[in-house]
Symmetry: C2
Subunit: 230 residues, 2 copies
DNA sequence: AACACTTGACTTGTATGGTAGTAGGTTAGT
DNA sequence: ACTAACCTACTACCATACAAGTCAAGTGTT
């Protein structure tokens, strides 16, 4: 007898809709739910011990973020990855973050630079095969940049874009070239600290392109996870 | 007796949830529903002759887009405008569209330039006090740029940002300086046609800043529509 | 064998009842 | 007159039942 009546998964004190959303979102990003996989309002509701309604609302949010695809009367599926769409979202992220670092470099606060360098030290400590650990620090780094520029809406867009990109990173078989990424983080900080807007901008543009170098390889080795209509 | 039982407003063939979303979104952007105004699932459902559920889902989508604010057990309100948040979203739009025009200017297709110039002629024809007419052409213009760059996701972000900015433009009492805006459109096209990335970028950045020149004035004259926690 | 049809088990979409929480006005108590 | 408790009328949230569409397997017919 294993969980004929599954335990309550969601906590009290917060609406269950957003909770379901976060749970599913996390599982999709971390490739626990694979691209192409079929979901179902009823199944998810049962496994989380909630009704269909909050699950449905979570599905809607996920579909707006592009993580699932809802086909009326047919089913809901984790959206397959497509090289074109990943490059498309990366383009948006690069544009936003390029302008963000220009703002930060234009008036580099000493505390900000110190905080970024502190984070850099943390990043060097993390093991090269601890994806989750590094990605958490990476997220913190980029969030700190956005916060330093005082752009909260910009960050919310980046968060959404980052989800799509992180999904790819979780599928990479080899390490994430963490060493190189950290070096690039350092170049960004150097540019900011020197007040050199253009240098900082070029550094982060290069950085954001580097992240997806493994994409073509993944598209070949795991073609079943990719949209083949391109 | 006026509309004791209101007529069916939504059409068949498409789910009502998205329809309700579009209807409310339009009414909010065009300032028919004013910032701060109270909404209600039940009321909206009754007035549209649908059930509360699709309305609720529309509210959720609107709240993600930042057009309404849902306070659990308290009510749903059209989000008030705030100078800071409008500038925040404008920043994102500028960053994205700047990179878009650089892409387009980097490889300017003759048909694209011709299409843009054709649209420019249309814009000159529209009356200076026909807000809706001009805004539709303006949206087409910017969409054409995004499409020419092949960035569909970028456009979806712009659409969301544009909603927030257009809401302000609908509150402007005077004309929208349409003449000046059209001149700037022309400068953008010129930069693209010349293959001058930097000129095109500077032109669109200036353009997107120009759009909100009336914001401070509106914030003074219609303070009740603005968030006062800033 | 091949094709058209039916049937049934799915899917998401919509409507509705009930629950818990909030806010404001009213009434009872001091 | 003032305060505190209550009470009513709302709100969004959740659960459940029903409706409508899709798809595939199976069946009957040609």
């Amino acid at each position: 007898m294993q969980n004929a009546r599954p335990a309550k998964v969601v906590a009290m004190g917060e609406s269950v809709g957003p909770q379901v959303y976060r749970i599913l979102r996390e599982r999709i990003i971390q490739a626990e739910l694979l691209p192409g996989e079929r979901l179902s309002e009823s199944d998810a509701a049962k496994s989380l011990s909630v009704s269909r309604q909050p699950v449905r609302e979570a599905f809607i949010k996920l579909s707006e973020e592009g993580l699932v695809q809802v086909l009326p009367q047919r089913g809901t599926f984790v959206t397959k990855i497509s090289v074109a769409s990943v490059m498309d979202v990366r383009f948006v992220r690069e544009a936003i973050e390029a302008d963000i670092v220009r703002v930060v470099a234009g008036d580099p606060a000493a505390e900000t630079v110190a905080e970024l360098r502190r984070q850099l030290a943390e990043q060097r400590k993390v093991s090269h095969d601890d994806r989750t650990g590094f990605l958490r620090l990476d997220e913190l780094f980029h969030h700190t940049l956005a916060a330093a520029a005082g752009k909260s809406y910009a960050w919310s867009v980046i968060e959404s874009v980052k989800a799509q990109m992180d999904r790819v990173r979780f599928l990479s078989v080899d390490d994430l070239h963490i060493g190189r990424l950290i070096e690039q983080h350092e170049k960004i900080i150097d540019g900011i600290a020197a007040g050199d807007k253009t240098a900082a901008e070029e550094a982060i543009r290069l950085h954001l392109r580097e992240i997806l170098t493994s994409l073509p390889e993944i598209a070949r080795s795991r073609a079943e996870l990719f949209d083949d209509t391109e």
